[in-house]
Subunit: 213 residues, 4 copies
């Protein structure tokens, strides 16, 4: 058996950037211990509270039509001490979704999970995983807790007569920090993108989440 | 403006599974504190060492042709206390790749990162990110450390005259536990799959990593 | 300046276990790629729902006196697909605490954070961080969300006239998997322990959490 | 059985800060979806390489006496795209320790793990876990890989005739981001501290790591 010189074949006829041996990558550094530690430690997180009266007011504000600015009716409870994480705690966020009667959202999926707890109203979710031949409709009502696992298509629908409010727990901030957050939005394999400054879900997928009002 | 009843439209004409209100999901449980804690805590991890003499012998074994069983020349240093993580430490693994002179691997990508440290030999990697118009060839030699970030196509090539041995650090076990590990293997959007018992990289992509010998 | 041979001094007069060079650690293994992958991938997580009617019934059960079995009135919403994580999702748990009017809990702290959302009732938390000269009393009422950061002493108190029910989000399962979960329970530096099969919080600190009824 | 009003007892005679209902915590915000996403996504990580020639030169620099600035002979391979993580990849760091013949380090422990790979030289580590009646001496030589688990006392000793160089893998950046990184340095329960801007290991424990030269 003759060993094939893969190396030559792999780049055959291809244009490539080359990083020669010993060439320095501009975005690397070698730091001694005493210079590194003070920069690597993070600020302490203080206890905090988000008042229901404030949340309720903000939810009513975004429940109006047209939605002011946003493409879905969702707020995030941010703790500023989490800094770049923009989380409620480091690695996790609490959000709240409000849906007017009859409203629904288009399907998408992401590598972050979402746990939902229904604070008000009734409705259902439609979820589908890669190997599911058909979607599952999961009905929910006030007090129920339900899970959308990672990389599962999902969409909320309010089929009740009052506004539905859903508390959401996500590990989005952890995955964004790890850089392993991927979104498919709207549904369609060509729309699978790694989330970063060059691809911002909802912003760069403008329209995909618009409520069909 | 008339509000459209999305709920009805979303499932219009679709076959769905339905989970009615109050129906129990068989895979859920409500556990009181005292029943939960003993099951939720994990076993302690003991200090450990993997001897170079053993690693070297195992690497030589898989450097032979045909590769016995595996589809690439890669070993993982497993600590049994990490149990289902199958890691070297909880959340991280150390692996070692050996490549005979002239050998290369096909490109793939995954949401786990990989940091490489060259223990022996010389060669190069070809990496490409989603927005890169062309790939980058990164040359490496003994002692160099280099990074393949999450969701970046990559492939090693040994273009030297001796065997190349590369120590690899990956957060695979953490991502597998989080269930946000995705593989694209071989390169091609239709091959993007979530890693789980129903899709095992290298096993379910048999052939995709075969060395072209 | 004479270099001191630290090595000899460090172990001077000490009894030690010795792991000689090349001695195999029984809990280590070197696995080739094809043997490792099928064991390292994890089972898929299915969508799930925990019904409020079931949660409510379970909460009422543990709200009775004496508490049946447990040392606090806390249930965890477990998803069996998370297996050893015993979480609601991989890496995170949703729990619910019920407190009868007038009840409080003793202070403890842990490296996991806790986000609380008040489902019913009113009361307050007492929290204190290492550098705080005095504790902070944080009042809460239905609908409020509040955070107890990592390694912060905390205790709930129900000072209202009805039962208080608090939904809790914790990253306990992630930290237990990482093995970096520490508890101090009850308050006191000598009680700082790493959580594992040899130290189970609440079980091995029996009495520390007993409600003072 | 009379229920005791815990609430009143807990704060009896104590000075406390009080956060009244509806009082706003200055470090909290409620952000709608469209304002939050662009801030919550992170920058992409580019491929990178740290050249051995550069690492070697930096290691020789800090191997001199007195150590210039630092209190131990340790460098970190920083990738600037990881920003506040100051890691080699998001969540993980590669460092390199150099020890002159005869040098050792004082014992400490932390909730991050460390995997070591010996690049040059020989020596041993002394490790001890909470339940170990006596420490374990783990001998190592070039090519060996060994693990110091989370919350395990450890110290390196070079008992060979040449400089020892050890590559180190740590999840420090992940734990610092999660804010569940604790250090005990030097050994002693009163020295257990949460790592943050108010407590920087090595800087705020000046002297504890000084080599005994």
């Amino acid at each position: 058996m003759a060993i094939e010189k893969q190396g030559e074949k792999i780049l055959e006829g291809k244009r490539v950037q080359v990083k020669k041996l010993n060439e320095k990558f501009a975005w690397t550094k070698l730091l001694p211990d005493d210079e590194w530690y003070p920069k690597a430690v993070r600020r302490m997180i203080r206890p905090a509270r988000w008042n229901w009266s404030d949340c309720k007011a903000k939810l009513q504000e975004i429940a109006s039509d047209p939605i002011p600015g946003a493409d879905r009716r969702f707020i995030i409870l941010v703790h500023e001490d989490t800094e770049e994480m923009m989380g409620t705690a480091p690695g996790a966020l609490i959000g709240m979704t409000i849906l007017n009667p009859g409203e629904g959202l288009k399907a998408h999926r992401h590598t972050s999970f979402a746990i939902y707890h229904v604070l008000q109203g009734k409705g259902y979710d439609v979820m589908q995983q890669e190997d599911d031949p058909e979607p599952t409709k999961i009905e929910w009502t006030k007090g129920d807790t339900f899970l959308c696992p990672a990389w599962t298509y999902h969409q909320h629908v309010n089929d009740g007569d009052e506004q539905a409010i859903i508390l959401t727990v996500q590990d989005f901030p952890l995955l964004a920090a790890q850089r392993n957050l991927l979104f498919e939005e709207p549904r369609g394999r060509d729309n699978i993108k790694q989330v970063n400054k060059k691809f911002v879900p909802h912003k760069d997928t403008e329209g995909s989440f618009k409520l069909d009002l």
